[in-house]
Amino acid sequence: MSEEKNNFPKEKLFSPKNKRLLSDPIGKDNPITVQVLGVCSVLAVTVQLKASLVLAIAVVAVMGLANVIISLLRHGIPPRIRIIVQLTVIASLVILVDQVLEAFVYDVSRQLSVFVGLIITNCIIMGRLEAFALHNKVWPSFLDGIGNAAGYGSVLLLVGAIRELLGSGSLMGYQVIPNFVYNFGYVDNGLMILPPMALITVGVIIWIQRHRDRALVDVS
């Protein structure tokens, strides 16, 4: 999170610089696998793919909006209480998301209720507000928010898919490992359902990513 700080772009909406705001966090500046932020919620929600998906969407919404709001307010926020202001903005958005889910997709919200609340504690969101939205214009802040949330979400989905597939033999709740495999003695790995395996899965993803992109290895 170093280079973006000095961006004050006056260029087109999707200039190369702005595109990088969107794409970097998904790959080589991923909040989870490179910056190792927000790992806590990855451990908690990735037992099933569906919960991961809805949480990823909710985080995209909260993070995009929070970055925009803080960026709009950035000249007025008193520095001494800026953390409180950020937290208030995030908490209000999360409550709104929670209420909207409860009103329109009740079943999903029942599955997720605790986790939606936990978005507030997601360190990535506050990290981006503090590091980016406070110093940048609205549009780049929006892109940065969406990009980081997407980077977070993509890891969430990947871990969720791996854990549900190996732990329950299903994806999105549908059984994908056919019955004859079970008849041969295959057993779902109960360990995959437990939080420690999320940590190990994330670790393996980080390992693979660093193996493929050597430039990341020296980042401290």
Binding site: I81, S92, F104, Y106, G167
Partner: protein, 230 residues
Amino acid sequence: MSNRYVFMYASVMVIVVALVLSTAATLLRPLQEKNMRIEKMQNILSTIEISASKGEAIELFEQYITQTKVLNHVGEEIEGDAFEVDLQDENRKPVEERQLPLYIADVDGELFYVVPVRGNGLWGAIWGYLSFRGDLTTIAGANFDHASETPGLGAEISDAPFENQFVGKKIFDESGEFEPVVVVKGGAPSDDEHAVDAISGGTITSNGVTAMIRNGLEVYLPYFKKQKTS
């Protein structure tokens, strides 16, 4: 920036946030309440093996649930709307003052008695519905739900494999004494009519289910016994 500005800023922010959130909560309230009512109907119907989609729930509920009653602790019917009774409030009252809701379903001529129960899991409330056949002893179906149990562990109480274990279990022993179904860690013997398997890694939730069933049914015993003798 002066302290005055900081205080003003914080106050205005709090007022704006409060306005936005309370407006949203008020506007969405009717939708949320409707969803909760429909879910409650679906849960009650599922204990008598009728799966209702969101759209059909109200219609099917009216069709099958032919009577609703509110009982007191000695099993007499009292005034009230069973569907509106909030078990969370009732469980805080002394037994003598509690209102006990009971739903009676008629499925093709066979009567089912549906009793709501509520208790505590590991992280928060758990609740459910148990339906009994006409003998008021054999469980015909069970439906459980929870506020915030651990997904994959305690939360499995709301999944079909756990709920289906209750079908055919009995809550009275042969001499007619109350012996509710208990959730047994390490597996229940398959011929035990009063026990089901617990959930691995969900011991506290499982124990919560045992306690919930015992406490929840105990208060209905006077009514059950009265019905059985009549």
